[in-house]
């Protein structure tokens, strides 16, 4: 009965410290992965490591079939830009893996290994909600709330401003080392309608070594 009650719930206890997600991720992944073009600079921090992923996005890439990448885009151009997340993708050994909307990422996380962590908390929160007649109040936050808050924003970036957050990509569940990745994110100049393709390439094996 308890299993039935908690199934379908997914909540997640974010890392309990005051550092921002950017600070935590950039501290853990020391490899500098960045590119720039036309006064637009992009940094990427792929969260491939299981422990790092579990702590910061609640699920491992292999269990969820989804890779979370922390992306930061600085717009130093004269005009505002639009980061085209819908047409962003990962190339893994030449194979294309499209980006996922935050809502799809939530569904994948809920189907992944996030559930056992705190499904019970949601259940207890619900019981508390009935008792008090108030909204659900749990010590933890749902995966949905966490992903909505931490997903990349804003996608429209004013001049001399930046956008940052998590971008989610489909990912192979097979655990193999040494894969070559290219993260591709198109950026549209709103004034000229010119598209700048920002690409960062890295090798999984080299990245893992530096994380350890």
């Amino acid at each position: 009965m308890a299993t039935i009650l908690v199934s379908g719930c997914a909540s997640y206890k974010p890392a309990a410290n005051t550092q921002t997600l950017y600070e935590r991720i950039s501290k853990a992944i020391t490899t500098e992965l960045s590119t720039g073009s036309d006064h637009i600079r992009m940094q990427v921090f792929p969260i491939l490591d299981d422990k790092l992923a579990k702590t910061n996005v609640g699920v491992t890439p292999s269990a969820s079939g989804m890779l979370s990448v922390f992306v930061r885009v600085e717009n130093g151009a004269e005009n505002p830009v639009k980061v085209d997340l819908a047409n962003s993708f990962l190339l893994i050994n030449g194979e294309k893996y499209p980006s996922l909307a935050a809502e799809s990422a939530v569904e994948r996380a809920q189907r992944g290994d996030a559930v056992p962590v705190a499904g019970m908390t949601v259940l207890f929160g619900l019981i508390g909600g009935i008792a008090t007649g108030s909204v659900i109040a749990t010590g933890n936050r749902t995966i949905e709330e966490h992903y909505q808050e931490k997903s990349f924003k804003p996608t429209l970036i004013n001049t001399k401003s930046c956008g940052s957050g998590l971008v989610f990509f489909e990912f192979s569940k097979e655990k193999t080392g040494g894969r070559n990745f290219t993260c591709t994110i198109p950026v549209l100049n709103l004034a000229t309608n010119e598209v700048t393709i920002l690409e960062v390439s890295f090798n999984e094996g080299e990245l893992r070594k530096l994380e350890e």
Binding site: L126, G129, I130, G133, V135, T155, N158, T159, L190
Partner: protein, 202 residues
């Protein structure tokens, strides 16, 4: 006797399914009261703005579908429809909010600012498993671009908000209100953003 049994079974089935339909978002009955905070344009400082209809992004396959209800005892999924495209509903809410904030709504030729944008999400759904109390959850996300009359960018941003209803036995009755609250919060966030006012009132 058998007839009576079938009649009772039919009655129970009817109670479990009938009367349970997804709500419909009727734009004529859409009433949203904005809380725009302290910042409003003074009567002698009313900027004229033209609000163009927002476009819909690729992520929206049907602009007349704004969510998914889970109805009846079996939580059958049923789309929540609106009588107007969701981008028009949101555009009208934006017009109302800008008017309440002291802007004068004008035709494009007469306006100092032109607002345009694109809706990427305008959606409500329910957490309903059949085993625990339910709630409705909605999220609204759209890009907003404000240009001056010379076509120069004044302010751009991605506007986003979500809302969750109180828990209840049946969340369906809260679906529309939850969606409208998320829309209201998203629009209010524009006027609570300091950079917006700094860009407009120079």
């Amino acid at each position: 006797m058998r007839f009576l049994f079938y009649l009772v079974a039919l009655g129970i089935s009817f109670v479990m399914i009938a009367g349970c339909a997804a709500p419909r978002l009727m734009s004529s009955k859409t009433s949203v009261e904005f809380d725009l905070g302290q910042k409003k344009l003074a009567s002698d400082d009313r900027f004229a703005i033209h609000v163009e209809p927002l476009a819909t992004g690729k992520s929206i396959s049907d602009p007349y579908v704004v969510g998914e209800a889970k109805i009846g005892a079996f939580n059958v999924r049923d789309p929540i429809r609106s009588d107007e495209p969701l981008n028009i509903i949101l555009t009208n809410l934006l017009r109302k909010a800008f008017s309440e904030a002291g802007f004068k709504l004008e035709e494009k030729e007469k306006a100092q600012y032109v607002l345009s944008g694109q809706v990427d999400r305008f959606w409500v759904e329910e957490y309903a498993t059949g085993w625990s109390p339910e709630y409705a959850k909605a999220s609204v996300r759209f890009d907003l671009i404000i240009k001056n009359r010379e076509g120069k960018f004044v302010w751009v941003n991605t506007i986003e908000a979500s809302h969750r209803s109180e828990v209840s036995i049946d969340a369906t009755e809260h679906d529309i209100a939850t969606l409208l609250t998320a829309a209201k919060k998203s629009i209010e966030s524009i006027f609570k953003n300091e950079s917006f006012w700094k860009s407009i009132v120079k």
